[in-house]
């Protein structure tokens, strides 16, 4: 799944963070899939991002160049938007995390 997806998900299994959020990731399988850059869409997503969870995920997956938070005037900052585009939409974690089974 993409990191945007991970950021929007929680788990209702007990003991996975407050309010069941966030879902823990493993750095086992990380892939980069290029996706066409759409600054308007990325800008729309920025207010929906939970930054603490995103930074924790980026850290777990050893990603670099991840902005620490939204910057002033981000809507027009192409560098910022391209970095966020890469982190949210191009980084994919492995298939083992695609099932959200509450088997626990």
């Amino acid at each position: 799944m993409k990191l945007l997806t991970h950021n929007l998900l929680s788990s209702h299994v007990r003991g996975v963070g407050p309010r069941g959020f966030p879902l823990r990731l493993q750095a086992t399988e990380v892939r980069i899939n290029p996706v066409e850059f759409n600054p308007d869409f990325v800008a729309r997503m920025i207010p929906k991002v939970e930054w603490a969870a995103l930074l924790e995920a980026a850290d777990t997956l050893h990603l670099v160049e991840v902005p620490k938070g939204p910057i002033e005037g981000y809507e027009h900052d192409e560098k910022f938007l391209r970095q966020m585009h890469h982190v949210l939409l191009e980084v994919r974690t492995g298939p083992s995390l695609a099932s959200l089974a509450t088997a626990g």
Binding site: S10, N38, S99, L100, A103
Partner: protein
């Protein structure tokens, strides 16, 4: 000069399809503020064939000509001046005319101030005469009920139905939505560029494709692990199984829409795993009716019953029988919680027609009912396309409001939809067996 009521009127010509979704006549006269708006309408609709700037109409040729003479000349002139090219087309509905009859009608319009040149191949302007001979092919009148004359503006998107046809799609299922209906649903959902659209019962992703076509980014979940990962039996006759390329991403790629694919996950729609918040612009879905695809829900260890099946990968301990009415409550609650304010929920509600009343349509304090369109499935069943809009912020107490509502009891009818659907079938089988014995 006073503005007369003949300004900015357009004639919309509807296709003869999904008649239960609209008023009977395919001819609609609309007042639209500008030509741009009319064109934008046609960029979305799959139900309308064309739109014309209406210059005149009447119940007889004489009334039509009189109406045309009343249309302001200054509004005609820009399209008739001597440098322009044009042609006139005659359309008749429910009747065929000979070429000679058509030419006569064109000649009768000579009184209009056409100054340009006729160009039948590539005219700048196309004018149309539309004659309405009613809807009954067994009773064609001598004279039309209505005649319209207008300048052609634009056609609708009906070719999308063919280009996105399920017949040509790589990955399909037993219940893949007809392309036309999936675009209608995307329009009901007011899907626009850069929206996020979610389908909690995504199946093979047909509904996501229509939303992606309109520029939305799409999410799907399904409880069926095999469908999501492209394993298991195929729905196409001569294919062995849904191979690895048979998945939703491949479908989007087929139409050049892969960039709109966010994720499709295996999940349980009754206990969504999304974090608290509002982030979907639209939820567009076709929930299982319990007939062709099975209706299931995961349960905890405590709730596991006898006779339940396990998914081969042992990912999901499957299967409480998921009562359909619970499913609609869950769906509406989920929509109320995760839709942005003004966001839309669009879904199909299966109905046992003899018992249907409007009170049976699921209700929620945060969602306003926008439309309810019936499509017949069989003699005693139909499904209704329900569209709702989120009009109120979700508060915790809202998720239990249905228990206090008078609407609650009739919902139980949705549970027995499966039994009632099959009741017609078993009766027919019994009848056939009886008559073959006689």
């Amino acid at each position: 000069m006073a503005l007369s009521s003949s300004l900015n009127r357009y004639l919309l010509l509807m296709a003869q399809e999904h008649l239960e979704f609209r008023l009977p006549s395919p001819f609609w006269i609309l007042s639209i503020p500008s030509e741009d708006i009319a064109r934008n309408l046609m960029k979305r609709t799959v139900c309308a064939k064309s739109i014309f700037e209406l210059w005149g109409h009447g119940k007889s040729p004489e009334e039509l000509y009189s109406s045309l003479k009343n249309y302001p000349v200054e509004k005609m002139v820009p399209f008739l001046h001597s440098d322009s090219t044009y042609k006139i087309k005659i359309h008749t509905f429910n009747k065929t005319l000979t070429q000679e009859e058509k030419v006569k009608r064109i000649d009768a319009l000579e009184f209009l101030p056409f100054e340009g040149k006729v160009n039948l191949k590539k005219p700048q302007h196309i004018f149309s005469v539309l004659e309405d001979y009613g809807l009954d092919p067994n009773c064609i009148p001598e004279n039309p009920h209505n005649i319209y004359f207008g300048r052609w503006i634009a056609d609708g998107q009906r070719e999308l139905i063919e280009s996105y046809s399920v017949k040509k799609r790589h990955f399909i299922g037993n219940t893949s939505m007809d392309a036309g209906l999936s675009f209608i649903m995307a329009n009901h959902g007011k899907v626009k560029e850069n929206d996020i659209v979610f389908d909690p019962f995504v199946g093979t992703g047909g509904l996501l494709i229509a939303s992606a076509h309109f520029g939305a980014y799409v999410y799907g979940t399904d409880i069926d692990y095999n469908t999501v990962h492209g394993l298991g039996k195929a729905s196409r006759k001569n294919q062995k199984w849904r191979g690895p390329d048979e998945n939703i991403r491949a479908n989007l790629r087929q139409y050049g829409l892969e960039k709109y694919y966010l994720d499709v996950l295996v999940s349980d729609a009754s206990k969504p795993s999304w974090r608290k918040g509002t982030y979907f612009d639209a939820i567009i879905t076709d929930p299982p009716y319990g007939i062709r695809e099975s209706t299931r829900r995961t349960g905890s260890q405590k709730e596991i019953q006898k006779g339940m099946e396990k998914c081969p990968e042992s990912h999901v301990p499957v299967s409480l029988s998921y009562h359909l009415s619970d499913m609609f409550f869950d769906l509406l609650n989920f929509a109320a919680e995760t839709l942005v304010l003004g966001g839309r929920l669009v879904y199909w509600l299966p109905v046992y027609t003899p018992e249907y009343t409007e009170e049976m349509v699921p209700w929620h304090p945060c969602l306003k009912l926008i439309s309810n369109c019936e499509q017949k499935l069989s003699s005693h069943t139909s499904r209704r396309l329900i569209t709702m809009e989120k009009v109120k912020k979700f508060e915790n107490r809202d998720q239990y409001s249905h228990l206090l509502s008078d609407h609650f009891l009739p919902y139980q009818g949705h549970n027995s939809f499966r039994e009632k659907y099959f009741s017609g079938v078993t009766k027919r089988i019994a009848k056939e067996e009886k008559s073959s014995q006689e």
